[in-house]
Structures are given as C-alpha cells and as structure tokens.
C-alpha cells in the first residue's frame, strides 16, 4: 500500500467492518451507561426516572460488594496458581517421549471441550456430593466422615471446578512453548554441569515466561467473568461466600428486577476489569516485548 490513493481506498473498504464493530460495542455500552442513571425496576413499569448516581451509590455501599470483589480476586488468583503450576508440570510430563503420547494429549485437552455448566454439574453431583459423590465414597471407604465441599469449602470447590476447565488451556500453551525450546540449549546446560533442577530453573522457566504471561492475561480476562459454575453449584452462597462481581450484577438486575442497579454494577465491573488489565500489563506485559 504505497500510494496515497491505494491507502485511501484501503481505508474506505475497511470502514464498514470497523463501523459495524464499533456500533456492536458502543451501543450496548451506551445503553448500559444510560440505564445505570435511571431508576428502572421491571416490577414497576412506567416509573423510570433519572436517578443520578443513586444506583452507583446503592451498589457500592451494598455490603455484598466488597465481599464480591474479594471473592472475584480469590477465584482468579486461585485458578491462576493451580493452572499455571499444574500446566507447567503437565507440559513437562507430556513433553517426555512416552508410549501412547497422542492419546494422553487428547485426554488432557478434553476438559476444555466440556461446557462450563456441564462440568460444574458433573463435579457437583459426581464428586462433591456428600452422599453419592466419589469423594464421599472414598472418605467412607477409609472410615472418614464425608466432607460437604460445596457448603463447607464453597470457594475452594469452585476454584477446583474452574481450574479443572482451564488446566488444558494452560497445559496446551505451555507444552507448545516447551517444545519450542531448543534442545541444544538443554544439552549445553547438561554439559555445563546443570542438574535437572538447575536446567528447569535457569533454562526452562525463563523460556516459559512469555507463555506463562499469555496464559495469565487470557485466563484473567475470562476468569473475571466466571458465572455458570457458580450459578449451577452454589448460587453465590452460602450467604455471599461465592458471590463474585458478575454474580452480584446478575442478582441485582435479574433476581431483584433492578435494571438500573444492575447496569451500574455492570459499569463498575467494566471499570474494575480495566484497572486489573492495566495493572497486569504493567506488571507482566514487558515479558511480551521482544
């Protein structure tokens, strides 16, 4: 695209797509912002009126709000730690030449293809259930009292469910990174007298930082809006023990029919997500530069 004319033509031809994408994003965002300033409850149709920042005030002063922020962070961090740690371990294992490697790889990737609602239900009913669950069965087999995961350690249980779904993604990315490590580097380190542990710390981990960064960034984006797993297992409870920001917005707007309050929560969630994004890019974004 060297000439002025061709550049102008390129802009003209790309503009419909850009405009469509812009509208696609701007219209819902604009409407959400608009609703967030209205007193708008579905149970009282026809009473919409401008409410100023009242909706924001109610949402921010709701005692559940800070709990939900804390829950969101705990959930994201917990899942990140498990998936990155487990992902590295699995990538190291799968990188070894082992018999039936192809099948093992497919098995590892499988959870990624299971819908969140389904996997959460499977975990809830098949594993965590204190009466019929496999964990309860195992506990009883060794003579222990079954543990009711979802009511006694609800956040931990949700983290396990979500981590199980995201582990394949992390493993896949880290495995690819692992395989792109020049084997001569490892051999050179081996000749230099580095033990396996030292090769891991000094050669593999630095090589994996970029992939780990990608995993953290992408997963954080999705984990901030975890919803289905909570809805089908704990419904945000007991109390607000597993209510994250997304679930709080859902409760506000759909369980209490308060569209205005829900919209205000949505906007706050958007702002917080951006803060997290900026924070993350500052912290680890430099790993992505070459």
């Amino acid at each position: 695209m060297a000439t002025q004319a061709s550049r102008a033509a390129a802009r003209l031809m790309i503009s419909p797509a850009v405009v469509l994408l812009l509208l696609w994003m701007i219209v819902p965002l604009g409407m959400t912002i608009y609703f967030s300033f209205l007193r708008y409850n579905l149970l009282m149709p026809g009473t919409e009126a401008f409410a100023g920042f009242d909706n924001y005030k109610y949402f921010l002063t709701d005692p559940a709000f800070f709990t939900s922020i804390k829950n969101t962070l705990v959930l994201v961090l917990g899942v990140l730690i498990i998936t990155v740690g487990g992902g590295i371990a699995l990538a190291l294992l799968l990188d070894q030449p082992l018999w039936g490697q192809g099948i093992v790889r497919v098995l590892v990737i499988a959870p990624f293809f299971v819908m969140p609602t389904v996997s959460a239900l499977v975990w809830k009913n098949m594993f965590f259930n204190p009466v019929n669950g496999l964990f309860a069965y195992a506990a009883k087999a060794v003579g222990l009292q079954p543990f009711d995961f979802l009511s006694q350690a609800p956040m931990f249980s949700i983290i396990i469910i979500v981590a199980w779904q995201w582990l394949p993604f992390a493993t896949l990315i880290l495995l690819t990174a692992m395989q792109s490590l020049d084997s001569e580097q490892l051999e050179a380190a081996e000749m230099d007298g580095a033990s396996w542990g030292n090769r891991f710390i000094y050669i593999m981990v630095p090589h994996l930082t970029r992939a780990v960064t990608v995993v953290i960034l992408i997963q954080t984006i999705f984990l901030l809006s975890t919803f289905a797993e909570i809805l089908v297992t704990t419904n945000g409870g007991p109390g607000t023990a597993t209510t994250n920001l997304t679930y709080l917005v859902y409760m506000q707007s759909l369980l209490q029919f308060d569209v205005g309050g829900g919209s205000a929560g949505g906007i706050i969630a958007v702002i917080l997500a951006n803060i997290v994004a900026i924070f993350l890019m500052r912290m680890i974004g430099k790993n992505l530069e070459t």
Partner: protein, 332 residues
C-alpha cells in the same frame, strides 16, 4: 589429560545402525577433525563422545578410565554447538559464568575467569549484552568462552563455523587454531568442509556412512588416500577419477590424478579435451574439460590464455598418479 579412546563403539537408532563398530584413539593435545558428507554420522559420533547419546555397545575411555556410563557433565568435556546454544535470557557474562556457577565456584573467582576468557576472545565490551544483540561471530566466541572457562579435558566442536559468512569463517578458523596452540588442549572438530579439515587438523578422520575410511595427517590423506572415497573427498578441486580404457591400460580399475598434477599444453600431450568452463582465480585458472575419458578438472597458471571451446592436451604427472583396484582400495 585429554586422551580419548573408542573401542568397538556402535550406535543404532531403532533398527538403523548409524555407527557400525568403530575403533579410534585420540591422543592428548591433538586437533582431530571428523570430516565426511552430510548425514554420515559425524555429529552422532561426537555426541556419543560427549555423552549426550548412549552408545549401543562398546567402550569409551577418557584418560584411560572407562567413561561409557558417565553422564555428560562428569566427562570433563566441553562442547560448542552448531547453533551456539547460548542461553538467550542471560547476558554474555552470565552465559560464560554458567558452567562455573553450576560447579559451585565462588563469585570472585568466577568474575576473574570470565574477565580472563573475555580478554582472550575480545569480548570485553560485550559482557553485559544479551546473545540476541551480538553478531554471528561474537556469538560463536561467547560459545567458545563458555567452553574454555571450564578448562575441560577436551573441546568438542560440531560444525561451529557453518552459520558464519565466508570471510568470518576464515577468521574464526584461524582463531580456533590459535586457541588450540595456546591451550594445547585436545580438540575434536566436526565439519563437512574438507578445506576446514585440511587447514586445521593435526589428524583427520574421514567418515563415510558411519565407517572410518581413513585416519591420518592432512598431507598423508592428500598424498596417499586409501581409497577412491577419500581421494575424491579430500582436496579442492576434487581429484579426477578416471575409469575405463585409460585405467585398464595401467592395469587397474580406476586411476586418480589431482587437477594440480596435470601438465596442460595447447599442442601436444597424452589426453585431448575441450575446455567447457574456465574459472579464473587470478593466480590460477581451473579448467573444466570434456576429455576422451570423461569430465576432468585441471589447474593451470593464471597467465595461460585459454577459454571456452579451446582444445587442450593434458599429461598426468606419473609420480602423482593414484591407482585403485576394483574394490576402490589404493594399489601402492
């Protein structure tokens, strides 16, 4: 320190035997070059010595001690890889210091050694850079630096110059040879380039399909190649190998004559031929000739005025004529 002995060493990858039983002794302080065409097993042999591959059978002795089952770190050998294998996230200083750090040496001692190596290799100004910010030749030097700080019993080089451009290659060739003269450590050097082999080696090992075709000094190989493979591989341009009537007339299957051992005349001689291409190098001219006995290459002085299409006469120097039997082996 630095004597290596291979006894009946073999290597197979699955069903395919890459190295058939092989015996070789590498003397202390020698500069040994493994040379052979691509895929003949040079790297494999070097990696067997390094301990990066397990041998399928046989024994490897280093300084008289059985090293067959020792890990690569325990053999006291250092290797320079074709890709240099520098650690990309570490500075040059950290790269060179890495083996010392792994050996648990003190920081002050490490620094002194790294500075010393950097001085020898002219890397002083680059110590804080990353490998990605260096040129090919500099990376090569860092890789060598990482090897020499360990003071190994022997250095192993796997085609270390093949990623460099021609001019730099000649330079690095000299530097490595000088390094060998300074350190006097055993060096094993793998290359597919016979010019490198001829110019650098004390002893050349010619490999072909995993077998050793001949071991000897560069001039031995040049003067008395043991078979047609070595004859054709060592020397540049290649030796002319003629079969058929000319060879039969001398009672053998194949005769060989190097381009520099043929007298060329425009009016009389033993064999006649037509020049197809004349390559003028200034001091010499190489003539590619279509002769009665097949394609040949001959060398003439740069002042001789011949070109494409000229008819010339060639007379081989009887003292430098090589004769080979039906099995390709030299007949003395």
């Amino acid at each position: 320190m630095g004597q290596i002995e291979l006894q009946k060493v073999t290597k197979s990858f699955g069903e395919t035997q890459v190295i058939p039983p092989l015996d070789l002794v590498i003397g202390e302080g020698e500069f040994v070059v493994f040379v052979g065409p691509s895929g003949c097993g040079k790297s494999t042999l070097l990696r067997l010595i390094a301990g990066l591959e397990d041998i399928s059978s046989g024994t490897i002795k280093i300084d008289g001690k059985d090293a067959t089952d020792l890990g690569p770190a325990k053999r006291g050998l250092a290797m320079v890889f074709q890709s240099y294998a520098l650690y990309p996230h570490m500075s040059v200083r950290k790269n060179i210091a890495f083996p010392l750090k792994m050996a648990g040496m003190e920081k002050a001692a490490i620094d002194a050694k790294v500075e010393g190596a950097a001085k020898v290799l002219n890397l002083g100004d680059y110590l804080e850079r990353r490998p990605g910010q260096l040129s090919g030749g500099q990376r090569q030097r860092v890789a060598i630096g990482r090897a020499i700080v360990r003071e190994p019993a022997a250095f192993l080089f796997d085609e270390p110059l093949s990623n460099l451009d021609a001019a730099l290659r000649v330079n690095m060739r000299l530097e490595i040879t000088e390094l060998h003269q300074t350190l006097k450590t055993t060096m094993i050097y793998v290359t597919h380039d016979q010019v490198e082999a001829m110019t650098m080696a004390d002893k050349i090992v010619v490999l072909h399909a995993g077998r050793i075709e001949q071991v000897g000094s560069p001039l031995e190989l040049y003067r008395t190649p043991r078979n047609t493979f070595v004859a054709g591989f060592i020397g540049s341009p290649k030796m002319n190998l003629l079969t058929g009537a000319v060879a039969k007339a001398r009672g053998v299957e194949t005769i060989g004559i190097r381009p520099e051992h043929v007298a060329v005349s425009k009016d009389s001689g033993e064999w006649q031929g037509r020049v197809t291409v004349a390559e003028h190098l200034g001091s010499d001219t190489f003539l590619h000739v279509n002769s009665d006995h097949g394609g040949m290459t001959v060398r003439v002085g740069g002042q001789m005025n011949v070109g494409h299409g000229d008819t010339i006469w060639m007379t081989p120097d009887a003292n430098h004529l090589h004769r080979f039997g039906a099995d390709g082996v030299r007949i003395a």
